[in-house]
Amino acid sequence: MKRKKIPMFLRFFALIPLLLLGGCNTEHFWLFNPKGPVAAANLYYMVVDVVIMSIVIVPTVIFTIWVISRYRASKKAHHDPKFSHSNGLEVLVWGIPIIIVGVLAFFSYEGTHAVNPWNPTVITKNPKYADTKPLEVDVVTTDWQWMFIYPKQHIAVANELVIPVHTPVHFRLTSTSVTNNFYIPQLVGQVYVMPGMRSKQSLVATHTGEYHGFSAALSGGGFSWMDFKTKAVSEADFNAWVEKVKQQGRRLAYPKFAAFAKPTVNLAGKVHYFSDVQPGLFAEVIKNVRDGKLQYATPMFLTENMDSKEFKQHSN
């Protein structure tokens, strides 16, 4: 009997991680703190989904635990060694999951349209945003940086995104090298950024503040540093910021962009501003990538077990 003790003790030990969770600061739970209608819709569907599933999962767990404790051999409970079939139960075990999945399917269908990156109905069908002129931003990822081009404003920012609050922002996205994934957890879910192709995304920020944005798809050596701050600011602040960037006077035409696209690890988290951006830059990037004219091979040493000296040489 002494031998059984260790398992019991471990059983309680196993609960410790759960306790620690309770103590965690909820503000770090980005997924539970949406700051815009798209992310909020995502969260809403998550809650709905979990609640509906719990209708069947929770009783299942309780029933299983009850069976395990009730029918242990030592309890001498009723033993029915022949019981292996029951039409009523069969109907139940197939019927309940079918109903649950049916309900989930409905919400899944609805939710997919609500947050559809090409046309999120939470924004496009929302009268609140019907009259607001959307902001357009073209996003280009390189190895391993972000370029945000504001075609109407003729400005561009690398590794930082600034947007006005309460304004729909429409993104067009493409990549010069490999596939990345555009993600700002508190504002909008993920969408792939693929070379030679164009994807879309939309978001609205409802609170001013600074949110984390990053690439969520492995893209090679500099991937872990592919972060960008997303600053949601008031309309006035946004306009002021645009003006300020325009003063910088660094022109961004295709050749300059092509140089920018060389493999660079953004170790220092540097931000670059450009004014006077060549119109149609986004389309030209896509075209050149498709024609094989914009492609940088990753240097061999960056793919081996490089040490920090070499790594830093290729960083900004």
Binding site: S84, H85, R290, D291
Partner: protein, 209 residues
């Protein structure tokens, strides 16, 4: 189902062990396994045809499919591979009769027809290469070369097998092993003809439109 599957048996008279030793049908087992293998081979071509559907118009400014794909080029190979299947079928008739030289002769004929098929493909593709339509030019050309050569590789493999069988039958006659191998090769050879007809239809005919 359950009443049938736990049939009531009198435990006192029941047969517990199989003293008849029914054994297992050797050739049937071998051909079944080969059918299963063919299933996976079919999946290879299914995937390649799916890919063809994707790349069929990805010319990337290089050669278009009308410039590259000529159904007329594929007609003679079709005739050859179908005749090869037919002569192989004649060999199978000879097998039923236990006619050794008939089988060997039919296999030799099928083999030669198969070689002819490969030579014609070789010629077609050297012409393509000469005009610069190589697989590196575009997604479409990559796909075209790959699907046709994947089939040709199967044919080549079948030919090696056929050559081995010619020797096998000549040396060992119709033992169990050779019989199932001949039957399996028949399945394989027919299947390659079927695949070729699909390539002819989907790649050559549709590609020329």
């Amino acid at each position: 189902m359950s009443s049938h599957d736990n049939a009531p048996v009198d435990p006192n008279t029941v047969e517990l062990w199989d003293y008849e030793d029914h054994g297992h049908d050797f050739i049937g087992t071998r051909t079944l396994g080969f059918w299963l293998y063919m299933m996976s081979d079919a999946m290879i071509f299914a995937a390649l045809f799916a890919a063809h559907g994707v790349y069929v118009r990805n010319f990337a400014g290089s050669f278009t499919s009308q410039e590259v794909v000529h159904p007329m080029n594929a007609i003679w190979p079709t005739v050859f591979i179908l005749s090869s299947v037919m002569t192989y079928g004649l060999g199978m008739v000879a097998l039923k009769k236990g006619n050794k030289s008939g089988v060997v002769n039919a296999l030799i004929l099928s083999f030669l027809l198969g070689v002819g098929f490969l030579l014609m493909e070789w010629r077609e593709f050297s012409e393509l290469a000469a005009m610069g339509a190589i697989p590196q030019m575009s997604g479409f050309l990559s796909d075209f070369w790959t699907i046709v050569i994947a089939h040709a590789a199967h044919v080549l493999f079948g030919l090696i097998w056929m050559a081995v069988m010619i020797v096998q039958v000549a040396v060992n006659g119709f033992d169990q092993n050779n019989v199932y191998r001949l039957l399996n090769l028949k399945i394989f050879w027919h299947f390659q003809a079927v695949i070729w007809v699909s390539i002819f239809t989907f790649v050559y005919l549709f590609g020329a439109i």
